[in-house]
């Protein structure tokens, strides 16, 4: 087999059809670019996908905050953090000096009434929510470089908690499941309506990548039964929208989500990403259990990478790549993203060695 383009390679990998090598893609913390470009390895504005032989280019183009015109209201600012209310009515504290997810300080929405009054009426498929130009430019660039163009959308689990926080959302699933189902349904319909507008005007991507974070250390936030009852209908709708148009679907989730994988397969996903080892995910076990039905991206322990120890990197790759490459359904990626503790040369070694092992 000759050398495939990124588009051809990822298309085949998502269908577990023969390819020339395993795929390659990665996510990085913002601080990593700063560090590596400061060290002269990357140009200041050079994107990672232009520097490394990545097969995928992503583009997110939607703004799903409830009140689009709301200007974030700064409540408190220190040298290190900023506390602000956003267009979802959430008060979040963010770190100014480095990448981290925000602290959930307070939420306007804690129950069904506040959701119906303050958020739901705003969630209309307004074209102002779409950055058409960004989508057009990234799509063109991906096509020019032969990369698989993945349109990325945040899916319902990750859309709800910025509105009401994890605790109210998860307690709502127990106390008032119909309220959470209404949020799920509202966001799923909004996503589909916006995709219709975007793709109708700008054309389809090569595939769709939905982002969810449904797990944490050792377990998912919810049971498989609760997933099937509350979240899966939205996944079936949004994944089904893509599949009806011939678009493969990658599903991201951080954390331990192995118990939910059967439900995500029922929803129709083609590939699971990111398979977070430190949360308890086991790439080899997933491959054994679902490798005939599902492709995988990730599952390489990033702690090994930031040890910057080539012997450990070799061991991790040798343990996993020769196994998971067997069904042609694997894309090399860390189990989360690359922090700035990973030295540039360690990462470079990781992908060189990984692709060497991943050749067919």
């Amino acid at each position: 087999m000759g050398t495939l383009t990124g588009i051809e390679r990822i298309h085949n990998i998502l269908k577990r059809k023969p390819v020339d090598r395993i795929g390659l893609y990665e996510h990085f913390w913002g601080d990593t670019h700063k560090k590596w470009s400061g060290e002269g390895h990357l140009g200041k504005d050079e994107p990672f996908e232009d520097h490394f032989p990545f097969d995928i280019q992503e583009c997110g183009a939607l703004n799903l905050v409830a009140r689009l015109d709301f200007q974030p209201e700064v409540i408190e600012e220190t040298d290190e953090t900023i506390l602000a209310r956003d267009g979802n009515g959430a008060v979040l504290r963010r770190h100014k000096l480095h990448d981290t997810t925000p602290e959930h300080v307070d939420f306007l929405v804690k129950d069904r009434g506040a959701w119906e009054e303050h958020i739901k009426p705003h969630l209309t498929p307004d074209p102002k929510r779409i950055n058409f130009e960004n989508y057009r430019n990234v799509k063109k660039r991906a096509a020019e470089r032969g990369r698989f163009f993945a349109w990325c959308g945040i899916n319902v689990f990750e859309l709800m908690h910025p509105v009401c926080g994890h605790e109210y959302m998860l307690m709502g699933m127990a106390v008032d499941p119909d309220w959470v189902k209404d949020m799920v349904n509202t966001y799923a319909n909004l996503l589909v309506d916006l995709m219709e507008i975007l793709f109708g005007q700008e054309g389809y991507p090569d595939g769709i990548w939905y982002y969810e974070d449904m797990g944490f250390k050792g377990r998912p936030f919810i049971s498989l039964d609760m997933y099937r009852e509350i979240i899966q209908p939205a996944h079936k709708k949004t994944v089904g929208y893509a599949k009806d148009r011939g678009l493969p679907v990658i599903m991201h989730s951080c954390g331990m989500v192995a118990p939910l994988v059967p439900g995500m397969i029922e929803a129709g996903i083609d590939c699971l990403q990111v398979i977070e080892v430190k949360a308890g995910m086991d790439l080899l076990q997933l491959y054994q259990d679902y490798g005939d039905r599902l492709s995988f991206m990730g599952g390489i322990d990033v702690r090994v990478l930031y040890s910057n120890d080539r012997r450990r990197i070799d061991e991790e790759l040798l343990l996993k790549i020769p196994v998971v490459k067997n069904n042609f359904g694997y894309v090399l990626h860390s189990d989360h993203s690359i922090p700035d503790q990973v030295q540039y040369n360690s990462y470079r070694y990781f992908i060189e060695k990984g692709l060497e092992l991943g050749n067919y």
Partner: protein
């Protein structure tokens, strides 16, 4: 009395807060922890018995099931809510000294890290296990942990970190606390952590889940 305590235990374990709560669906319309604890106190059941023979057992049961992936976060949150409703009635007994906590647990997410979900779950389970929890919040400096330990001598300290980039601050905090008091007990937890890391930085124990932390302290408590 035993029957009442058993009913309270079930309410805590199942997350039945009060009579109005629709959760769990199969207990709809029944009294919850709120009413039953009030009833028990009215019937002359000592607060310590309610705490030790009902609340702690109920919370321990749900924590254990959580560890075994038999229940999930919504269940644990509802149990914690039921526990809060029950503890509201016991507060005066703690204030008067008639009921006592097992100890004080100082809790926080280390500096540079703003994650709080895991920390909050640990706090709920520790409180449910009979510990007084002093929650310092997120992005807590080593010095602030030390200050809290000085204010609450003999307390156990729990450090949480989700980010690999903030694990270094965890090490700094452990060192500072141990320099102040070599016997201070420091527990650590969080997504990127392991037993090996906990040992390397001098922490006393690592737990992958809230119940593990509580079990560690309960074992130690029963040995002392």
């Amino acid at each position: 009395m035993q029957d009442l305590l058993e009913q309270i235990t079930v309410c805590i374990e199942r997350g039945k807060v009060n009579g109005k709560s629709p959760y769990p669906p199969d207990m709809r319309g029944q009294d919850g922890a709120d009413e039953l604890v009030s009833k028990a106190l009215g019937a002359g059941v000592p607060a310590t018995d309610i705490l030790e023979r009902a609340l702690i057992i109920g919370m321990g049961n749900v924590g254990q099931k959580f560890s075994e992936n038999k229940v999930f976060v919504p269940d644990l949150l509802m149990s914690a809510k039921a526990m809060t409703a029950a503890m509201k009635h016991l507060k005066p007994f703690f204030e008067s000294g008639q009921a006592k906590h097992k100890g004080t647990f100082i809790l926080g997410t280390v500096q540079g890290d703003l994650h709080d979900i895991g920390k909050n779950l640990v706090g709920m389970v520790m409180e449910g296990g009979g510990w007084k929890v002093v929650d310092l919040g997120v992005d807590v400096s080593a010095e602030k942990f030390l200050e809290a330990l000085k204010q609450n001598p003999g307390s156990v300290v729990g450090l949480s970190a989700l980010l690999t980039t903030t694990m270094v601050n965890m090490e700094k905090t452990v060192k500072l606390l141990k320099q102040h008091d070599a016997k201070a007990t420091v527990l650590v937890g969080g997504a990127p952590l392991t037993n090996e890391f906990a040992k390397k930085i001098g922490a006393d124990a690592y737990s992958p889940d809230p119940q593990g932390a509580l079990n560690y302290l309960t074992d130690r408590h029963s040995r002392n």
